[in-house]
């Protein structure tokens, strides 16, 4: 009996041990977390990264960074490598901080719209290199293009809503010598605008349009240029050629199916969509020869009638970005639903055009043979979107699905490195990475999702951009920065390329109503029109009382006569919804109807001096 008990005990011990082993096994199977955060960097690496992105107080950044502001309608300016946000340049949305959209000129420029959707900024260039003159930005929502002057970081012109263009997404890519700014329709519509056709006529009755806005070489003034009719594909992104390909422009499309409805599915059926390669020099010539027809007031080339300037290159389905290598030889397009990025050879493309090596056409656009124009397919990873180039012959492709960036070599097409980013990267940026002379050194990941990487700010979350060091063979994450929604693409140029002014010199102020002496200040009346010439200077407005009758149309010309940096003055009228900011040496115009009787204070909104509080006056409206 005793031995039996012992035997039982042994068995029980066995059971417990066995259960223990299985338990340990189960717990041991728990996988370790993966992702950008888990690369628990050692102190050495962290310190190194910190030094590389640290800009000491008083020191300046190496690069200017211009973020598109997405549906904020603005452009954000930051510095690399500190990633500090320095300024916001209002473009398509009123911005009380700088008084943009409240004075007469900027109000007129906005044309009644209160927002825009800035997608792709593009720095002006000379011979394919950034020249630091202007920054162009596109508006996907209201089909406009704006030009920012980098002399004073101000929006100087907005052109649009553009005729025939609908959803100006693949814009504002600038040609080799800033001859043109590319535009295109992402959402095909029947044209000219105002035409009605039922959605059932989409495939044949709607039109895609790509085009080019002409830029004046000296003033930067934009004018309509010309356009090209295309099938109702969804033009998605664009790029301009450089060096050998400098006369060409490229666009990608999705929905070559010409489908409608649930595009998530219906436009993802074809194995191939297209890159459109367009010889803009040739198009320009054809237009000047009168080969274009007038649609909606624009010269439009129809490939069904006019040949020899535009071709389609088949590319892996639903491509997003198209990017041209600095030497102009390689056309890189990424199919966002596959795991490869396709490299086309520009020379092969020319040869295929020469040899009429085509396999069909789409509404007059010849489709070149894929195998004849393709050079390589690089296995970069899942969801490739955009590619940038550095100064050492490497390309960097963003992977949305993988949440990573793959570095690969031009020419050998080998993948060299891959770095995870947080999270879901869209565009990426190397300073000069879309020009013929990339500056390299840094890579910026413009991520769509930031969840959990910042102090919580509730459900509305900022976007994340991550600075990556690309000086070594391996990419090294340096810094996480957060911006307001929503940067798409960006541009960056060396700090010393730009030489902005900080004061508008008195002698260059050509405003007819500018005054520089208090004795010229005053109020004049002509019928119901009251004109005020006003001076703003530390710490008063002259005149400081404006008496009008209810119903008068009041125009105030305010000149800030300061000639020193950072001495800005604001001018706001309480309860009249007016706030302008006048920079040193600038004259601004405020126009309103005094439709409310009573006494309304006006005051300086932009803190200026020790007696800033005293800088005030009254608008007195007699009933």
């Amino acid at each position: 009996m005793k031995s039996n008990q012992k035997q039982l005990l042994n068995w029980l011990i066995c059971v417990v041990v066995f259960a223990g082993v299985i338990g340990v096994l189960l717990i041991g199977c728990k996988p370790a977390p993966q992702g950008a955060r888990t690369g628990a960097r050692g102190l050495g690496t962290t310190a190194e990264a910190a030094v590389k992105s640290y800009v000491a107080p008083g020191d300046l950044d190496e690069f200017y960074l211009f973020y598109s502001g997405g549906h904020s309608g603005q452009v954000f300016v930051a510095g690399i490598p500190s990633m500090r946000h320095i300024a916001t340049i209002p473009v398509f949305t009123p911005y009380p901080s700088t008084g943009y959209g409240f004075d007469k000129d900027s109000k007129e420029m906005l044309g009644g719209f209160t927002w825009g959707d800035v997608h792709h900024p593009s720095l002006s260039r000379t011979d394919g290199k950034y020249d630091g003159r202007w920054l162009f930005v596109s508006d996907n929502a209201n089909n406009r293009v704006a030009r920012i002057d980098l002399k004073d970081f101000k929006t100087k012109q907005i052109i649009g809503p553009l005729q025939n263009i609908s959803g100006n997404h693949c814009s504002s890519f600038v040609t080799n010598n800033t001859e043109y700014v590319l535009v295109a329709s992402r959402f095909s519509i029947p044209i000219p605008k105002g035409t009605y056709k039922p959605i059932s006529e989409y495939a044949g009755g709607y039109n895609g349009v790509v085009g080019a806005i002409k830029v004046d070489a000296t003033t930067g003034e934009m004018s309509l240029g010309w356009q090209v009719l295309t099938p109702p594909f969804n033009w998605d992104l664009g790029a301009t050629g450089k060096n050998v390909s400098k006369d060409w422009a490229f666009w990608t499309c999705y929905n070559s199916e010409r489908a409608t409805g649930k595009l998530e599915v219906t436009s993802s059926q074809n194995e191939m969509d297209y890159v459109l390669a367009l010889n803009w020099k040739e198009a320009e010539r054809l237009v000047s020869e009168g080969k274009a027809k007038n649609i909606g007031g624009v010269s439009v080339l129809d490939p069904k009638e006019v040949k020899g300037f535009a071709y389609l290159l088949p590319v892996g389905k639903s491509p997003h970005g198209v990017d041209i290598s600095p030497d102009g030889k390689w056309i890189v397009a990424s199919g966002k639903l596959v795991n490869t990025t396709t490299v086309f050879n520009f020379d092969k493309m020319l040869a295929a055009i020469q040899n009429n090596d085509v396999k069909g056409e789409e509404d007059g656009l010849p489709v070149l043979n894929f195998d004849s124009v393709r050079e390589a397919q690089v296995e970069v990873g899942l969801g490739p979107l955009h590619t940038q180039f550095d100064d050492k012959g490497f390309a960097y492709t963003s992977l949305f699905v993988d949440s990573a960036i793959t570095k690969w070599k031009l020419g050998t097409w080998e993948v060299v490195d891959k770095i995870p980013v947080s999270y879901n990267i869209g565009h990426l940026l190397v300073p000069g990475g879309d020009s013929s002379e990339p500056y390299g050194k840094y890579l910026l990941a413009l991520n769509k999702l930031s969840h959990g990487r910042h102090l919580s700010v509730g459900p509305s979350q900022p976007e994340a951009s991550q600075l990556i060091d690309i000086t070594g063979e391996k990419m090294v994450l340096l810094y996480d920065a957060f911006t307001e929604p929503e940067p798409h693409y960006a541009q960056a140029c060396p700090a010393d390329l730009l030489k902005p002014i900080e004061v508008y010199p008195k002698e260059e102020n050509k405003h007819p109503m500018a005054i520089w002496d208090v004795k010229d200040a005053g109020i004049t009346r002509e019928g119901n029109n009251v004109t005020v010439k006003m001076i703003a200077v530390r710490s008063n407005f002259q005149p400081d009382a404006i008496e009008v009758y209810r119903g008068d149309k009041v125009t105030i010309y305010i000149t800030n006569i300061e000639q020193t940096t950072d001495e800005l003055h604001g001018f706001a009228i309480n309860e009249y919804n007016i706030n302008v900011v006048i920079d040193p040496g600038e004259t601004k115009t405020v126009e309103f109807v005094a439709n409310k009787a009573g006494v309304y204070p006006f005051y300086c909104t932009n803190f200026c001096s020790a007696l800033h509080q005293e800088m005030q006056g009254y608008l007195l409206v007699k009933p």
Partner: protein, 215 residues
Amino acid sequence: MKKLLNSLDEFLESRLLGRARLIVLLAILLVVPSYFYPLWTMAFYSNQYPDGLKMALYINHLQGQKSEFRDDLREINSLNHYIGMRPILESDFAEFTWLPLVLGALILLSLRAIFMGKTGNLIDVFVMTGYFGLFGIWSFYYRLYTYGHNLDPQAPIKVDPFTPPLFGTHQVANFTVYSYPAIGSLFLILFGLILFIALIVQFLKWRKTRAESAN
């Protein structure tokens, strides 16, 4: 041969020892928690989900991990739609209906063995447990196979048909999928194992007694 059959009859008819019955009782007590703990867990890791999307199969329901700001099952299903996989729904799993019943039946059969007290009764439960265990695993495997092999051909992202792992890891697009039995399964395994031990104990004693009586 006849002798062997005779001794088998004899063994099946032998009365269960008190301690064998105690062991069976222990097995029953140990299997009860498997009603409350997950049998199987799956976790989906990617760069975007460094903490993993998690899902657990219980004996009678499916449970996605829910944190304050995330419903993992919902997340898994909305991601799966890109590859055309149908949503994972609790109502798809017939197992959730029959598994609790079957386990209940096995417990009843075990109690029967304790009270009726024949070795044959114990063998019945043991064999049934083994059978349903294997059938359950096959059933879940088939369920996973069905999910991975009935992808919508119109899906935006085309992937080759695949079977999500039942045991181990598998790469699906940008996700590493981990699938392992969980604590609930441990109780089920212990149940079968302890029943087996009871059988061994019974067998050893029976053989010894028979040898003694032969002498």
